[in-house]
Amino acid sequence: MAEAHPVGFQWVMEAKKRGATVIHVDPRFTRTSAVADQYVPLRAGSDIAFLGGVINYILQNELEFREYVVAYTNAATIVTEDFQDTEDLGGLFSGYDPEKGVYDPVSWQYQGHEKHAPSRGDTHTQRETGAGLEQESHGPPVPAGTNRDETLQNPHCVYQILKRHYSRYTPEVVEQVCGVPPEEFRKVCEAWTRNSGRERTSALVYSVGWTQHSVGVQYIRTGAIIQLLLGNMGRPGGGVMALRGHASIQGSTDIPTLFNLLPGYLPMPHHTQHETFEKWVEAIRHPGQKGFWNNARAYAVSLLKAYFGEFATADNDWGYNYLPRMTGDHGTYQQVLNMIDGKVKGYFLLGQNPAVGSAHGRAQRLGMAKLDWLVVRDLYMIESATFWKDSPEIETGEIVTEECATEVFFLPAASHAEKEGTFTQTQRMLQWREKALDPPGDCRSELWFFYHLGRLVRERVATSTLERDRGMRNIAWSYPTSGPHNEPDASAVLKEINGYDIATSRPLSGYTELKADGSTSCGCWIYSGVYADGVNQAARRKPGSEQSWVAPEWGWAWPANRRILYNRASADPHGVPWSEKKAYVWWDAEKGEWTGHDNPDFEKTKAPSYRPEDGAVGVAGLRGDDPFIMQGDGKGWLYAPQGLIDGPLPTHYEPAESPLRNPLYEQQANPTRKVYDRPDNQLNPAPPEAHSQVFPYVFTTSRLTEHHTAGGMSRQLAYLSELQPAMFVEVSPALAEERGLTHMGWAHVITGRAAIEARVLVTARLRPLRLDGRVIHQIWLPYHWGGSGLTTGDSANDLFGITLDPNVLIQESKVGTCDIRPGRRPTGRALLDYVADYLRRAGLDASHYAPLETPGAGD
């Protein structure tokens, strides 16, 4: 966190000054470790084993916050008796289909819900479309009624399943899998549990490298299970905080730049799953479930009103058929492979540098070289704009400038200081930024670009009679502009996002005002309220010293300016704060309403004693003590009966590339991971496949404080480049000796995709780990370098192949296997031959790919 988020890290240092214990778990000793009270090195890719060990420690010692767990989580909920665990099936859950590599999740359901389970085909489509992303603002659909055993004794209740599932994740197993000595591990468990409960809360903070694994979503799930067991959710000082990789990455999923989502986590329509408007809405709201998501029709209609204005009517299903449909996996990696195969003609790149920043850089560059046209909008001429003349593939002869037909349009972009708008950060808080100065020359804002692009396309189709152009012709595209370049007014866009009453143009005060009858328009339902009372609430900047400690008048947080989600959980089932110290919201019995320091995340006047009538659904179906109001059953999910492709409980699988046989299960790696078995995406062999010793070392990548992601914003600046002026690789003194590497000398790192060179830093900050009876060396590389800028070097992301998490299609780019050798890499054609020789030695060719299911598992 100190490396990648130094400004946010000031609050960790502040907490430390006040006596907080800071624990840092990381494969390499970083600037964070330097100021932590305890540094715990572990093997990259082993985090679920580590956190599973913490869960086991909590359950074996009964250190969970029992009252919280029973009342607010699904610990007591009973699961179908057909459910079989990974402990019974060698690392697979019940329902695995080896043909498609997905599960039929019927046996994972709550008892009595079996008929509501998605089918195997649904699950397959969900993986293709990264459907897990839809769950950012709410849980997957389950019916309201569940069977519960609040004594937690029923062998089929979630609590008992959880306990059995993690019973083998002992300190000894943690050492065997992660390389963490038991005494170090115990110190972590003790500190975490001691600081949680009625009187105290702990926060779990992770950076997005945690997600970049073939089991990335399950990493986060494991952390969430611990936080629920310890009562750290919905309470001040608790939570699971994702530190995002750039400004407003939260914003870019809320109002998405993703292929599979529409604003507010509404799914992008799929051609078979959501054929009609009704099917789409029903798929979102799932009649019969509890909670606010039941009102999805109002959110959906209001969005279509924002898109199509007067052309969205009840008669034409609010313009639903103007929306494009997904037909499968259109994720960024599938697109790149399609480009290589010549299936994609054009590509827009905005603020992204995949030639350096994405996994398998060579595939990225070769793909772009097959396009007809490419539009790059960036601050500088980044590697993704110049690959046709100076990429590593020019040197190897794989791209020939004279023959590369891609027409590249480079459009210079305005920087964040040169445009107005909002950032949404990890706390879901929108903060408005003023424009400090005009962008120079031809540089323009994204808003300008898209507004005028849309305007020009609409001019082209204005007289078209083609049905396919109707949506574009009918889109509501009227924004006030000003200045010499006709810059659109960003606050007008924010007003549209907030939503308004169509008859009166009155800005809405929040999403509860949204209507399904077409009388309201709203560009993103979860952002409704950001322009309440016609005031830009995101622009509020009242200093913390002039308001309460929750600081509700600084910016605006979705939903409804609520700073902590599910904060009903900060009070006990009777509505009384769990402790004076941790009081946040509570039930005021005299006034008959919820009150407190924050906006209560609950119906204002629903008493804690409220019990729904039988069969009640939607918001009315929630009990007065069901705090998790966006979940189908109102509970925090220790166990996920739906919504995850790879299982209801996080399970330790080895990374797709690993030098180790999975010590816990016969199943080696995630059996549902998304793979692309192609000759140009060879993955290094992992046991039980042969020849894994050709790539004996584990490597991981991350950032340096001095640079920013793929370097487009830092390698061009002298004051940053001079601070880290060269690509380097960090190795331990032991590995340096083993491979003959010298400090400050050159070395090259080899995988099945590439060989890259770097200067060597020999440092005790990297150290070998002992596990499973052998010593594992880990190598660390920064991923900031590429061929352009004041400082240049080979790109670490060239080393990775493409394997994705099945839930959200994020790439496994934080762990792989490699070899390292002293000296510089070969150049020209010799480089290709060099990598090909490694492939040959590793037995990798197009005739065989590692199966998803490991032989022996599932017997």
């Binding site: 880290q724 083993e738 900050r765």
Partner: protein
Amino acid sequence: MPGPNSLYGPVDPAPDAGYTDAPPRMGFFTDTSVCIGCKACEVACKEWNAVPDDGFDLLGMSYDNTGGLTANSWRHVAFIEQATPPSEAAMDVLREAERSVSTQFLGMPSSTLPGETGRADRDLRWLMMSNVCKHCTHAGCLDVCPTGSLFRTEFGTVVVQEDICNGCGYCVSACPYGVIDRREDDGRAWKCTLCYDRIGEGMTPACAQACPTESIQYGELDELRDRAAKRVEVLHQRGVSEARLYGHDPADGVGGDGAFFLLLDEPEVYGLPPDPVVPTRDLPSMWKHAGVAALTMAAAVAAAFLGRRP
């Protein structure tokens, strides 16, 4: 009118330099125990003061690619990797790797640094420290400057006026810390001004403003000294017995620094002199001795002449 301590000993430098109604003396307290090595201070300093880049050289000195305070780097974050004897468990792993691992510290001239032993609870310590001009009470650079380019400000800080500097370089050898430096291309001397143009407007110096963890604190020197003493006390109570202040003492060889530090090891570990002394300290006694010598010489000459007369 210079006082008896003008060249050595405790003194408030601004009044001593002739300012009447001088504002309180301002300075930096750099608390290295909370430094996270982000180098925001280096960048902010260069941005505000338009200091040129200092070259793109990988130095291999841990994460320090600045190397030291120079004419083109007025803040410098030092990174010190200290390998202390590994724990028994870690040693087992290392032995198993069948390698005799040298715990040699990398990037510093010697493997036997002061403070190399110690803490048993970890086998690696990574110290970070943002170094800067000390703005000495008795500033050697100022004392030797022949042009008046270096001057004492009303805040008690020491600033170079680049339009007056003639590039003689006397100041470079007069600095006991090796801070002030000449730029190769123009020959003139440059160093931290404690953002004279900012603090005169009531603003905080750029480095302190940018520091995310309040490792660099700016303020009235007296107040900073109190704060620093309390911080050391707190750290000692928490078992950080190695915490100590550096440059805070008005009785030291430079009369105390306007920019002082909380360190977690001996000053030498950070590349700081353990006992800096302003080279002009001995000027009065040197002049006295020279005077006595001259008088003696004169007397001897006179005596010789007188003595020749029978």
